[in-house]
Symmetry: C2
Subunit: 254 residues, 2 copies
Amino acid sequence: MATVQLPDHDASADASAPAFSPLYQQIKALITKSLQGGEWKPGEAIPSEMELAARYKVSQGTVRKAIDELSAENLLVRRQGKGTFVATHAEQQVQFRFLRLMPDDGERGGVERRFLDCRRLRAPADVARALELKSGDTAVQVRRLLFFRGRPVVLDDIWLPGHLFKGLTAERLSEYKGPMYGLFESEFGVRMIRAEEKIRAVAADETSAELLALTPATPLLSVERLSFTYGDKPVELRRGLYSTASHFYRNELS
Amino acid sequence: MATVQLPDHDASADASAPAFSPLYQQIKALITKSLQGGEWKPGEAIPSEMELAARYKVSQGTVRKAIDELSAENLLVRRQGKGTFVATHAEQQVQFRFLRLMPDDGERGGVERRFLDCRRLRAPADVARALELKSGDTAVQVRRLLFFRGRPVVLDDIWLPGHLFKGLTAERLSEYKGPMYGLFESEFGVRMIRAEEKIRAVAADETSAELLALTPATPLLSVERLSFTYGDKPVELRRGLYSTASHFYRNELS
DNA sequence: ACGCATTTGTTCGTATGTATT
DNA sequence: TAATACATACGAACAAATGCG
């Protein structure tokens, strides 16, 4: 049963405090908690609406509204006739869900990766701040290249909290087929559900120019991504350099 | 009443044809048509859910679901206790709804504009293609600068279909207080509801460098925006150059 | 090939709560 | 306080998609 099920009114209610939340929001929170706790794993089906309604002692429509919102937030995926499933990064359909770079001509074909580096070290101050680590905490740094049609296009510098990614090595990264966030999900139980990006234009330095096979000072997109898991906890800082000679960053406004 | 209300099945139904749509989708289409036709103007309230239910001879819940989607798409705005309103660009709250550039420190303060140019001419081939104009059709070209805290940060080159914007002049642009899309709405009846952006990194040329008060070859964000009105009709092509020395393009992924 | 059970999707109706005027 | 409008919640019925026997 939902915890504080609408106790008529609260006579001591004061202004500007939420103090109450609709039933379906409470159900939504309970479902989110189960997701966070790993009761249902990515790719799996959650119980049917009827079962959840019975479990929480609410109507099916209330469960439905909770799931509607979770599915709008891409935490769940509904499939008519089959059930409702926990969203996953390890699926063909939505592969590279977070990668917005597109080739000038047509669709994005196969993407190859090359991992340059993967090591554990004390998090630099700015990384520690972004990931909400204590100074001195260890972080994992991964550097990699992405190739579109054989050409290097993206150079990523990725920072992860060390305590969440024990045992992450370049080998495991290389072996794993599919998106990196799929590996994080299945091997480390860390699920990226949202991210914020800050995009700038910068000039390529010597190193990145060589890796991306272009001349120094070429303008590049600098994409700094902060990724969050449940509860808006930051769990990845990713600094990418994108070559936009024959690709562009695609965005939808509405 | 909605037109083709679920004619059981179509015996001749073939694969991959829609051939049917839920009632609430039909209602949504009817409401969209009224919006497009100008029956309710930006900022105005549309009829209440009950009234619409009566008009279309469906239940309130069905109208509600249609409005839910339209409001999720930012075509309508619901306000509890007051009604449902047609979204507008001419409001303080959502001003610069489409501008994603943010200063490195804190919030975006007041933005000043300076219009450099506004003229009518035959649309260049690439512009005509993007705006779906016939070759030879006239277009309006607007060039302007945006200033953040007194400093020039954005240089926009804007192209509009000539036949929709008769009488648009630099004076009218300058006189109008508020976002340009607000002017388009109220003076020309053209409502931007969606846009696609292609973002690249480029080097500043002589002209843009001077206008943005920086040195040539400085990396800049190139933001090409194609804006759409109802029915996914393109009605604006905007090419922006953003200085990202102390600002960044902010994006949310989910 | 057919039917059946399961699950989500759609639609209706009704009642009550909350916000605004 | 009352009227109005959107928001929440319940219940019920049927449709459509899927998978199994």
